[in-house]
Amino acid sequence: MTFWRNGVRTPAWWAAAILGVALFSFDIAGYVRGGTTDWKTVFFLVTMAIALVTGLGVWAWRPQTHMGPLIYWWPALTVAGDLMVAYPRSRTAATLGLGLYTMGLIVFAQMSLSYSNGKLVSEYPRKSLVGRAAWFYIFIGGYAAQVIQNLYNLAVVDGRGCPYCFPTQERSWLYIGKAPFSLDWWNRGWGIEILVVLPIGLAVTWLKFARQPPGGRRTFLPIAVGGTIATFFGATVLYFIVVADQAALGSVSSYSWIQTAGQLGAALAVFVGLLIVRRARGPIGNLVVELRRAGPGGVRPALARAIGDPSLELALWLPERGVWADESGVEMSLPEGRDRAVTYIGDDLAALVHDPVFLHQPALLEAVGSAARFALENERLQAELRAQLAELRESRARIVRAGDEERRRLERDLHDGAQQRLLGIGMALQLLQTARDGDREQLLAETEVEVQAALAELRELARGIHPAVLTDHGLGPAVRTLAERSPVPVDVGASDERLPGEVETAVYFIVAEALANVAKHAHASRASVSVARENGIVRVEVSDDGVGGAALDGGTGLRGLADRAGALDGTLEVVSAPGAGTRVLVVIPCAS
């Protein structure tokens, strides 16, 4: 029996189990001896037996919550109290019955409101109105009032003189004497007290129901309904106690099976709920199978099914980026606040973002987490890849766009610059053919200026396309040339070592753009550039003492530089707090 093997049985459990069996045996023996074998009694005993077995089961299988003992004590106390019905002529049974009979109902109420983790309406904060109402209902209106009531009954009830008033026809061992004031009045007071607190209990029960997750509602509904039926029956009985005469109570009591039926429903619900918890290993077994078959992106749905939370979101920690991302690699942030709960899996592996009610099933979440660990590692790898791929795609598109834009700019510069000047020169030459002497000199001078300007423009354009000094002499001299042309004084630290062509080109244009930004935006008095290769990595730093506040996506072309670096598997970082200058740091791998 795996059920039996998987349980945890403490000495307290054994004691409770033995006590329960003993109480049942005595009770049944009493009925058998008394010859009372009506079906209502059997119905009652079966219901209590189911509750008892359920309580002991939950106690053994979920020892970390108080749910098991709560379920157990409900039938245990009720059956102990019932002894006074089975043994109407025993003073001991009368003592137990008068002392305990109604206690079982309060335990039942506490159990209902503590479903399913053993904590009173944990769906609500303890200090909230509902939390306080539940506490008042159970501990003040329930236990405290009932203890007083029962102590009073133990002291004054005398079944000997009143065969119909109480199930027992005896006095308790604690009997003191005749009541100082009418038992009838005392009972009315008690009834009014219960009639006041019962609506509180009902309200709390259904408020609790409203907060159940879809899965939780299925099991909690019968408990809530059962509790409500039992409550209404109790209220009816009390009505007769309070306003009608005691004689009518006898006929009402013959309908006590309705209350039992309500309790049976609740007992069965708890029992079924227990089976669902037991079956939690079932979903997890399925989960393991499902995860083995799940393709990329299939982990989240599988986890959502196993936990029973369709709203489940999966967050994967991408250590390289230091961000949380969903399965497709899109960055996300973990929610804060009460609407969503976060359960972490592993150290920096993943997090489940789920409905907070599932916090009451930590064991389930934990089991799901450990079952999914390997798949999650996999999923995270996939998400990382997808994020990289998306980034790559974006950067590739940006590079193509930047290239197009660059070509358009070149076309514009050529057409509107050098070409126009050459046309002007051509026209001047035409005019020269027929010009008079004075005009001739002026035209020649103008043409000379135009030729120089056209040459200068072409030179600039060619440099923009690819500077010759970079090709011929490498990065060091090329960067020094950039520095010389910068309007802001620039210190250059760069060796004359040659690097691979694509690295030289990328670094050159990064430095050129960064220095252009310094000149345009930084309001700096000094800037510095350093280029160094060590351990197969080229490190480039361009810094200034300007106003700072630059951002990668600030529209200053830094994104394009990052793409240039990224195209060579490099990275670009911008450190630019407002007022603290700007540092552009580039790292590009570059094997010797």
């Binding site: 514009r412 057409h415 509107d416 070409q419 126009q420 000047r421 046309l423 002007g424 051509g426 026209m427 001047a428 030459l429 035409q430 005019l431 027929t434 135009e450």
Partner: protein, 214 residues
């Protein structure tokens, strides 16, 4: 002949004005963009407007837009578009439609006053002018099934001049043959290229250019 000039580069505009003036053309106004040009045309009603294709604000084909506007509003004013683009697409856009009196020349032609003035005269006479370099480019294209392969060398020459916008008479003068001979050549060419004959002059230019481009 009275012309206006539109070009956003002052240097070129003034050079062109000087050149045309020297060549005996009356330059009665200069404009730096399309809007200014339209005002100028409204005021001066020149015979021809010489328009740079690239003007502010986008520096792409504002000249063509202005040309279309002029031809709608002032059908009697000819338009010579000076362009940097050796691309039949632009020429076709200009030659499209009903009106004649238009020309598409590469800007390089400004260095040859004689050629420029010749084009202006043809336009003011109601002809269409298409730059020869553009036509050469179209003629030299390699084609899969080449309808031009069926043409004789002489017919090719005539086709080239047709594409440049010359009238039969103009072609006859250029080739030193009788108009009758040219007519025969033209008929053959149109048949071989599957172009309906008897269309108006400017439509014929358009059809030929389109056929060459296809």
């Amino acid at each position: 002949m009275r012309v206006v000039i539109a070009d956003d580069t002052a240097l070129l505009r003034q050079g062109l004005a000087r050149l045309l003036t020297e060549a005996g053309v009356e330059v009665c106004g200069e404009a730096a963009d399309g809007e200014e040009l339209l005002g100028l045309v409204e005021r001066e009603r020149p015979e021809v407007a010489v328009v740079d294709i690239r003007m502010p604000p986008t520096h792409t084909d504002e000249g063509l837009v202005a040309a279309a506007e002029i031809r709608t509003r002032y059908p009697k004013v000819g338009v010579l578009v000076l362009s940097q683009y050796v691309d039949a697409e632009y020429a076709l856009r200009l030659v499209d439609g009903d009106s004649t009196r238009c020309g598409y020349l590469l800007k390089d032609r400004v260095t040859n006053a004689g050629e420029l003035v010749g084009a202006l005269e043809r336009i003011s006479a109601g002809e269409v002018v298409v730059d020869r370099e553009l036509v050469d480019g179209l003629l030299d294209r390699r084609r899969e099934s080449d309808p031009l392969a069926e043409l004789t060398d002489r017919e090719r020459e005539v086709l080239r001049l047709m594409a440049e916008g010359l009238t039969d008479r103009g072609i006859a003068e250029r080739l030193w043959v009788t108009p009758k001979t040219v007519e025969t050549h033209v008929r053959h060419i149109l048949r071989k290229l599957d172009i309906p004959s008897g269309t108006a002059h400017n439509r014929r230019v358009h059809a030929v250019l389109a056929q060459l481009r296809a």
